[in-house]
Symmetry: C2
Subunit: 248 residues, 2 copies
């Protein structure tokens, strides 16, 4: 699953061509890097270090100095905000090709950690920002990324502020269908819930128990099918998920 980059690939950039590590990078196609010209890619390559983060390990703690950012090559990260007494809210989920980190901030306000073994291309934050200044096309891509993330965050604010548990679960499942759904053999759509019940709860602003109960209820109603405790499931009635999410 993970690509076979060494932990510290320092192969020198090849002048005039796509640098070796980048050429073989799994994220080359859909990442920020995709629309960067050769010069920009070479500059990035000189800065970047390939790094593998074991499952559960954190990339950066809220409150620590914000020294690094990265491109996510393979795996998954969660970005969490916390209250002082330890309540957690997953503020974003990161997938291959996504930008990782908080730019232009001295100290990190969010904790970023790996949901599974995760492969990323890490840069010193300051140097990355300087490179950005010299490559307007990269800056433009990042602007697009930031605006997309902002749109996402706003949709989630609506869910967290105004939707009940059932609607949040329906919306979450529909997001998964849209992002990773594949037709199931016997009809319906197969999806894999990429995170645990607890993480789903932290993502949707609910508790583990409520998430579990709502999923069970969807199963009892024949809308969703899954083996007990399983993250692989198939959506049998996508239409009914839509009517749950959009009532009246």
């Amino acid at each position: 699953m993970l690509s076979h980059a060494s932990l510290l690939d320092r192969s020198p950039a090849v002048a005039g061509g796509t640098p070796g590590r980048c050429a073989s990078c799994g994220a080359r196609g859909n990442a920020l890097c995709a629309s960067v010209d050769e010069a920009g890619l070479t500059a990035l390559h000189a800065l970047g270090r390939r790094r593998i983060l074991p499952s559960g390990q954190v990339f950066n703690w809220a409150g620590d100095r914000n020294n690094h950012c990265a491109m996510l090559v393979d795996g998954m990260l969660k970005v969490t905000a916390s209250t002082s007494d330890g309540r957690e809210q997953i503020v974003e989920l990161l997938f291959p090709g996504d930008f990782v980190g908080e730019l232009f901030e001295e100290d990190a306000t969010l904790t970023i950690s790996a949901l599974c073994e995760t492969d990323l291309c890490a840069y010193p934050r300051i140097a990355f920002e300087r490179t950005l200044e010299q490559h307007p096309r990269m800056e433009r891509m990042l602007l697009h990324h930031a605006l997309a993330a902002l749109g996402d965050a706003r949709a989630r604010m609506l869910a967290l502020g105004r939707r009940n548990a059932r609607e949040r679960i329906a919306g979450f499942l529909l997001d998964l269908v849209e992002r990773t759904g594949r037709p199931a053999p016997g009809g319906g759509v197969r999806i894999a819930i990429p995170i645990s019940r607890g993480e789903t709860a932290d993502y949707l602003g609910l508790t583990i128990e409520t998430v579990s109960r709502q999923l069970s209820r969807l199963k009892a109603q024949g809308i969703l099918a899954f083996a007990k405790g399983d993250r692989d499931c198939t959506v049998l009635r996508e239409d009914r998920l839509h009517t749950i999410l959009n009532p009246v």
Copy 2:
């Protein structure tokens, strides 16, 4: 309060100097425009139309074509997301100097409306985006703006997903103190809640009644003082608001 710009200021840009309308613009100091060079400002000026939005009027409806964006010169806007059955969530409040609109989107997903008489400098969206491409410094400013908005949105997601009513109110009041607080004559900090109870509820993901009750409770506890139904109030015990927001 509002500046006296005509509804349609089409005075031609002055080559080599700050265009007349911009020079006298109240937002010139802290807006996107502030860090744009002469050439960029001239380009923007050629595009912009000064426009006054009466209180309550909408700048753009969710679902409509997304033809315009703007710089907020004076007044206040709210940006709302809605469910299909009419529940509303205020997703952002906009103040003078803020950028208004959704870039790079064919159709608007959010409704933007005026909370009071509001003065803005509106641009055709596509033309604005093209101008952006030619002025990397503007693009950089917008990136900063977008990242700041994203940071805000994430803090609000934590509040909406994980904080109770009392904590949300405390956080809201502390935000106002930080943004607009002025020392009160008899001690404490004077603030003006800039929106109605109903809008506060839509902003915090609560109901009008809960907002009202929580404010009354803070008053009864001597933390906050205000006349019945009044939006002007003084925070008597800022420290206690902090301990409400950050328990344990």
